[in-house]
Structures are given as C-alpha cells and as structure tokens.
C-alpha cells in the first residue's frame, strides 16, 4: 500500500492543470469567462501537438489562458488580444490564420475551387445541350444487326 501511495503522489506531480475548466483559473464575471473560453478555442498550445489551450492540460496552456483571461478582464477586444498574442508568439499561436495577404491562398482557395467546379459543370451541361448527330444509315444497320445478334 505504501508503494501505491508513493506512486500516486508521483503521478499527481506529473499531472498539471485540468484544462480550461479548472475552477482555480476561472474569472468571476460569467460573461467575461464565456468570452475567454471562446477565445481559447482559437489559440494554440504552443508546446502541445495541435491542441487548443481550451483542451490542453500543459503548464504553458495554463499560462496562455491566464494571459487571455487577464486581457479579457482588462477590457481588451478579441482583436486586440489576438494581436497581442501574435506579437508575442508569432502567427503560429492562432489556430485560425488571419485574413491577410500572406494567407490569401488559404482563404480564397475554397471559393476558387468551388467556382472552377461550377464553371466546369456549366460547360458540361452546355455541351450536353447540343443534340447528338443522328446515326447514318450504315450505323443504323449495324445497330440492328448487333441487337438482333444478341
């Protein structure tokens, strides 16, 4: 039993925070807390493997959450908070890349691909509008032979 207890204490030391829902981190104002939680989903936990700070239990995610919560409390707008984070940690910190010239390809591609698809479909339908040429007498005879032979 002693060994068990010692190991469990060791385990507790490995564990860090409980993610964004940890009650010790929460803001007292519910509206502010809700805003912070929405923002968390857009911020990457930089040391994790593709997790937002809303999900992550890592120490660094906890630090980032604290920064965001403090800024929300101080009355910064969402855009200001994003700018602040980008200035500090680079674009990598945002899970939703910003609408910028550098990211134009990313944001415009879906629309462009859809448009190309639409144009191709329109072309396909227009081509179909032209009636197929009627069969020549020779061909009709061949069709008859084939059908009868079947």
């Amino acid at each position: 039993m002693k060994r068990l207890r010692a190991l469990l204490i060791a385990a507790a030391a490995v564990a860090l925070t409980a993610g964004a829902s940890d009650p010790s981190e929460r803001l007292p104002d519910q509206a502010q807390e809700a805003r912070a939680r929405t923002l968390f989903k857009e911020v990457r936990c930089l040391v994790c493997q593709n997790e937002s700070i809303d999900d992550s239990e890592a120490q660094l995610a906890g630090d980032l959450r604290q920064i965001v919560r403090e800024q929300v409390k101080a009355g910064s707008s969402d855009a200001q908070i994003r700018d602040f984070l980008v200035e500090r940690y680079g674009e990598f910190v945002l899970l939703k890349p910003r609408f910028s010239m550098g990211n134009a390809v990313l944001w415009l591609a879906p629309v462009v691909v859809l448009l190309v698809g639409g144009v191709l479909m329109a072309g396909l339908l227009r081509r179909r509008e032209t009636p197929e040429p009627a069969l020549s007498q020779d061909e009709e005879a061949r069709v008859r032979r084939l059908l009868e032979g079947d």
Partner: protein, 660 residues
Amino acid sequence: MIVELGAFALILSLMLSVAQTGLSAVGGARRSPVLAGAGQGAAIATFVALLVSFAALIYAFVTSDFSVTNVATNSHTDKPMLYKVAGAWGSHEGSMLLWCVVLTGFGAAMAVFGDSLPPRLRAYAIAVQGALGVMFLAYTVLASNPLARLLEAPIEGKSLNPLLQDWALAFHPPFLYIGYVGFSVVYSLSMAALIEGRIDAAWARWIRPWTLAAWSMLTVGITLGAFWAYYELGWGGWWFWDPVENASFMPWLIGAALLHSAIVTERRGALPGWTAFLALAAYTFSMLGAFLVRSGVLTSVHAFAVDPTRGVLLLIMMGVAAGAGFLLFGLRAPSLNRGGQFRPISRESAIVLNNILLSTATAVVLLGTLYPLIREAMDGEAVSVGAPFFNLTFTPLMILAFAVLPAGPLLAWKRGDAKGVARKLWVVLALAALLGLIAYAVVQPRKALASGGLVVGFWLIGGALLEIAERLKLARAPFAESLRRARGLPRGAWGTTLAHAGLGVFVLGASFETAWRVEAAQALSLNGSQPLGAYTVTLTDVVTIEGPNYLAERGIITVTNKAGAEVCRAQPERRFYPTGAQTTSEVAICAKGLDDIYVVMGERRAGEGGKPAWLVRAYVNPWVRLIFLGPLLMAIGGIVSLSDRRVRLGVGRRTGEVVS
C-alpha cells in the same frame, strides 16, 4: 524459430509478388491463360506467405519474445492479452505489415473471386496490385522489418503507450487499413482499364463493390477512432481536425464522391473520365494519409510512430504510384467516351453537384492540412490551421451538399421533373423546419444556429424516408402492394436510404451535442457536490486500486437528478503506468438514452481546511450517441448495398427492380 520462419515468409512474399506482377503482366499482354493463371496463383501464395509472417509477429507479441526489436519496444509482460495481440499492429513496423497483408489480401481476392472480370483486365489488375505489393513489401523488408532481432534481448519490454491500450483502438487500425487499402483494388482495376483504354459502364460496375467495401470499412475505422478520442482523451471532443484525422477523412470524402459518380458511369455511361480520376485519387489519398501519419511532417495528437527517413521512402512510393496513375490517365483521357446526355435538372446533375462539393471539401481539407508546410516553405513563417478554419470553410460546403441531397434520389435520370420533386419534398422541409422551431423555442439556452443544424438533420432523415416511401408507393397504393414492392426493391435502394438517413442522424447529434453540452468542474472533497445542469454530482468515495499494469485512484461519483434519486454511479480513474511513467485518465460514462453523463477524475489538491480534494469534471453531452450511430448506419448502408445481387454478381441484370 517461428520468428525466423515469419521473416523468411515475409521475404518470400516479396519474391512472390514480383512473380505475380511479371506473370500477370505478360499473361495479360500475350493473352495467355496459363501465365495469367500462374499470376493468380502467385497472388494467392503471396497473401498466404504474408499471413504466416503476420501470425509469427502476433506469436512473438503473445509470447513476449523481447529478442524481437518491435516486441521489446512496444510490449510488456504485464499487458493484457488483447493489447499484446493488438500490439502487433500498434507500431509503425507492425502497421506497415498489416497494410501489406490487406494489400496482398485484396490481390488474392481478385484472383479468387474475379471470375466475372474479362481475363485480360483481370490479369492487368492483378499485375498492378502486385506492383503495389512489391513497393510496400520491399519497404517493409528493407526499411521497416517488424521481425528484426535484437542482439541482446532485454528482460522486459517498453510497453505500448497506455493511451493506445484500449479496445476501440485495438480494432481501429484493421478497419481503417481495410478501408485505405481497399481503394488499391479500385486503383488497380482503373489502371488495367486505362491500359486497355476502356473506361465504360462495365468497368464502373466492377469497381463498385470494392469501393463500397473500402468506404464502409473506412467509415467504421474513422468512427472507432472518433469514439476512442471521445472517451479516452478526456475532454469529450470527438473530432479535432487534426492532421492525422484529416489524413483518414480525405480518402473517405473522395470515396464518397467516387461511389456516386460510379453510379452515373454505370447507369448512364456518363462522366467516365471523372470517375476514373476519382478512382485513382482515392488510393492516392490513402497513401498520402499513410505518409502524413507515418512521416511526422505534421505535428499531431495521434502520431505515435513517426520517422522522417521512412517518410521520404513513403513519399517516393506515393509519387511513383500516383505519378504512373495520373500519367496514364492524362494519356487516355482525351480518347474516353463522353457518355450519355443529361439536362441541368436530372439525377446526373445532382450527383455532379455532389461531386463538386465533396471534391471542394476534400481540397479544403488538403490545403488546410498542408498549408503550414506550404507557408513555411514559401516565406519561413510558421502558421497553424486548426478547427476554427475548417469549421468556417468545410461546414458551409457540407450544408450546401445536404440542402440538395434529398432531391437527388427523387430526380429521374436524364431529365428530371423539378416541380414534381419540389411538390413531394416541401412536406419534408416544412416538417423539418417545424421541428427546428420547436427545438429553438424549447431547448435552453436558445441557439439559432444549432436549431438550424437540427433542421438540416431532420431534412436529411425525412428526405431519405420519403424516397423509400415513394419507391414503395406507401399510403398511395394498398399496403399489400407496398409490401410486395418492398420485397422486390433492390438492396442498393435500402442501402442508399440507410446511408442518407445515417448522415442526418449524425448531423442531429453533432448539432445538438456541440451547442448544448453542459460542463461543470470543481475541486470536491469527500461528499462534496456540484450542480451539473439538471443533475447533482457528488464525490462519494476515493479508492486506490492496482490494475494489471497500472495503479489508479478511482473516484466513486454519484449522480442524482432533481428529485434526489441516483441516476448513475460513475467510477472514473486516474491511472499511473509505472512503465514509462505516464498518467492517463479513464473517463466514466453513463448513457442516459441518447445522452451521456461524462465524468473525469482529476488530480488531488488541497481543499478547504487542508482536507484533500479532487478535481471532478463532469459533462452532459446531449444526443452524443447519434454522432457515432449515424456513421454506423452509413457503414451498414454501404454493406447492405454491397449485398445487392447486381453488385455481388458483378452483372448488370435488373432483378425485379420496381421502376417508379
């Protein structure tokens, strides 16, 4: 000894697949039944040899033979038996061997069940399948041999990552790989048909059963993975738009597009080029998935076995297969027949629209997944593309697709009757809107967007039911007549209805769960409680337990309803695995109808007055079961279609289908 036999069988299967390729190719080119038959024999022998090899690997895991490198790094004597067996495909080497087993298995299946194929096409397809086998087997033998021995065997193994010791994940890779690699048959049949220059209705009929089987298995595999993430990762999410998830999702999307376009090619002879393109793309995306997951070029929560040098090899293999495929396609495409004509309002058009939307969605997922690499190569800037991007781009595309979906099966081929279809569908639309409005009015807090999601879900389910009702002439003809029609209806029609309704079920679950889940988290001391929506969560007791290969703190947590009656006793655990010093959380889930009460045990901390307290997180995930039930229905729909006589026999005979 058994391990050496397995290693020998692995090399033998590589030699046999070289023979399979050569014999079948020459047999096809010379129209020699003898050579082609020998190629078929080689295909079966390859598979048998590889089965021996795979069995040897499982044997090494079961007996904990730590002189095998792969066993030493991925297993442990304390591990439960199921996970010892599953360990055989849990590592990179083992999973590539599984890939080869499935790949050669499909080659053997073509040799055994392919009698309805024209001999020449069959020989070429088996040759192409053999060539794919040669590549992957050579890779396995030379760069990732799962049966390699260690010079000095350790006393104990390093064990499998505890997160992976889970039943859903034990079965996840086999389903996923049958799905991924199932598209290899579609690829091989397409290559064979392109070599012969004949992409036509008959070809579309031959690829259909393989596409259906692969797509259905992939659906099951992805759903198992999502279910695992839901209850194992411990925050109740089930889809993260993670690169590894996207890697499996892209072939699924393309597979879905292919299923539909192949119907057009089969029934109407139209879109042969496009269908062939998708057929090649499906397996290309499968290989891209293997590359993305196994190379580690993208950081991900699921990549457990990564190696950059192997990544380069996988990339080369993908380049060779895709390059050969699309080169041949480029050469043959101009000469392909254009097929039957159709009007803008027709079932063909609806399916073309479906294909445009699914392909665009695939392109979005592909770009979003690779964009961080592209940007880094372009200007060195590190960026992230995560869930918020995909929610904003992928979801609208799908909503567009869902909006038109119910009309598709109701439209006639060639020239549809828009007004007639609208007359039938407006009732469904009105009903779906009404249900959405009720949800908006009743469910608190009020959420317009999620209520809209529910409308889409009901619209899909209603549309699917209406379609089958139309085919049965339900309520319009005497009941006996409907019953007779139900018996005569091809299984494919039932499959379509199931799959489309399953999609609706999924949309309902996803909308409801995402919008209305309730969360509560507090540090509770013994007998402390916290409110969770309509329930109260009380920490009744905490016990320490010793598992087979872990130690755990187990919380006994009582959930009561408003009246004070106990609705469930949850026993979540916080586990510590001494081997590897890893802590994991074992979630407790109480199913309440379609909802889940989801309880997570957190770490111990000092509570009020120095008493110990434990962080208890609890969620009510409403309708979450539908998220997993929906895709399951879709997979069942695929399998029901697969059992359709027309598909099974590979013949185009119409068997008593009721023409509406």
